[in-house]
Point group: C2
Chain length 225, copies 2
DNA sequence: AGAATAACGTGATATTATTCACAACATACT
DNA sequence: AGTATGTTGTGAATAATATCACGTTATTCT
């Protein structure tokens, strides 16, 4: 029974995919800690502030299954998620904009843990070209096509000032880039077949501000009633 | 009619809130460009890759309304969103961890646009304490309570290495911090009344990897059939 | 070994979010 | 002024997601 599950391409709801990334982060840290070999849906739920039913439902889309009274095998689950996210297969990426944020990304050692490697960083500013950022030398924009071809780069992190973001995106699209990791706060206009992942950090603060305002309001209401 | 809408606290679906942040970013850039005074739901939808109906439904939760054949007044809509996110009211925030990412955040000029100001940056490393990061001098951790009290800090950005993130969070909770902006990849364990906003950048790359794999698959399938 | 227990897996149900469909209405045109 | 047009605003219908409820099963206890 359930023979389709073996080789079938796993399909799951979008909402589940978002949580799979969280489970992956959590399981990674549990694997590092080595404190336990199994984990209950209840425990995962508590850490991620969701319900155990949600956790079990999400895992029901995976091959890995849990044992009653014991829980899920951390290594097994993590291995399946690693596989699902394609972490074993390395992706070469490049960064455009060697400023504060671009340099931080270039120095970041954690990309290898998720199957990515920064192979080059570019800047328009002649002052910066030739300087080292971590282990990479800053290259001029004209070298982008060469590096993209040589290293089969599909993904680019855009770390340039707001008002340059769109023109850099246009350039990258012209160079055949498949995915843009957009760290600017701008909404980019690109063809539909180009993937855009917005990483506008400031939006997180807007959420915090809103939640703080909500909790203030609740406190006020409680003291009123 | 609809008298409740005037002073009533606006309530909207969580999914709508997420999009309101996108509308805010988009309208901000349109306001800067000054190319047009009005925008149609159709245009917004195209830029954000959603449907015009979705845009109108979302805006139906706001006080601002559009005009048939003309669209929404950009300034008016942006003003309402600014108000809703509490952008006029400044929030003082601090950063813990003056490394690559913490320094990038400390140097970031855009926080004032969303009603936030970085008032201090802290590090455990004695080598870093006393050094300047942008216009701020790096302070030792013991100064956190004083700064938090003096500047009414409710929000802290955690930019320390993975394995220090939880202990820093514990410290901050003990100091009465209300919201944690977590830039580490770790899932933090904090009391329920403390807000945690995870800004794990690496998750964005996992999404990109997944979407790239999907689009590769589609291409393959199309050439097959 | 058999019974009791606690957690999993999942179909059924409830909730939330999106899309549809169309009346209402501002503008442009004749 | 009256008519045509195109877009808004929103209930109703549909779709997606989360929760519930409970049968199943691995483990522990007697
Ligand atoms: N620094 C942060 O913490 C932070 C936070 C949120 C968002 N952002 C966004 O990230 C982006 C980068 O921020 P930053 O703080 O690193 O800025 P930055 O000014 O430090 O760096 C920008 C770099 O881009 C280069 N550049 C300018 N135009 C270019 C072009 N056309 N092509 C290539 N390179 C070009 C500049 O020479 C500079 O080195 C901005 O859009 C910013 O809004 C940054
Ligand atoms: N740099 C990036 O682009 C990037 C990307 C994704 C995630 N992150 C995450 O952000 C965090 C910071 O990254 P980074 O690249 O800035 O690291 P980093 O090593 O450059 O900086 C970390 C800083 O924290 C300080 N520190 C260490 N322990 C501390 C403690 N207990 N209290 C206070 N300060 C302490 C260190 O002295 C150092 O200055 C990490 O968790 C990292 O995984 C960074």
């Amino acid at each position: 029974m359930k023979s389709e599950k073996s080789k079938e391409i796993l399909k799951f709801p979008k909402a589940t995919f978002e949580r799979l990334k969280q489970y992956h982060a959590l399981l990674t840290q549990l694997e590092i800690e080595q404190k336990q070999r199994y984990i209950l849906s209840e425990e995962i739920a508590e850490m991620l502030k969701i319900t155990p039913e949600q956790v079990r439902k999400d895992f029901s889309y995976l091959k890995t299954s849990g044992k009653p009274k014991v829980g899920y095998n951390i290594s097994e689950l993590l291995a399946e998620l690693d596989e699902l996210f394609g972490i074993k297969a390395n992706d070469n990426i490049i960064i455009v904009g060697a400023g504060n944020l671009g340099s931080a990304l270039a120095n970041y050692k954690g990309f290898q843990n998720i199957g990515a490697r920064v192979v080059a960083i570019f800047d328009k500013d002649q002052e910066k070209v030739g300087k080292m950022v971590g282990e990479l030398m800053v290259l001029p924009l004209k070298d982008i096509p060469r590096v993209v071809r040589r290293f089969h780069v599909r993904t680019v992190a855009i770390c340039v000032p707001e008002d340059a973001a769109q023109q850099v995106a246009d350039l990258l699209v012209a160079y055949g880039i498949k995915a843009i990791w957009n760290f600017s706060t701008r909404i980019l206009d690109v063809p539909n077949d180009v993937i855009v992942q917005n990483e506008d950090i400031t939006r997180g603060l807007l959420s915090i501000k809103h939640m703080l305002a909500e909790s203030e309001k609740r406190k006020y209401e409680n003291s009123e009633v």
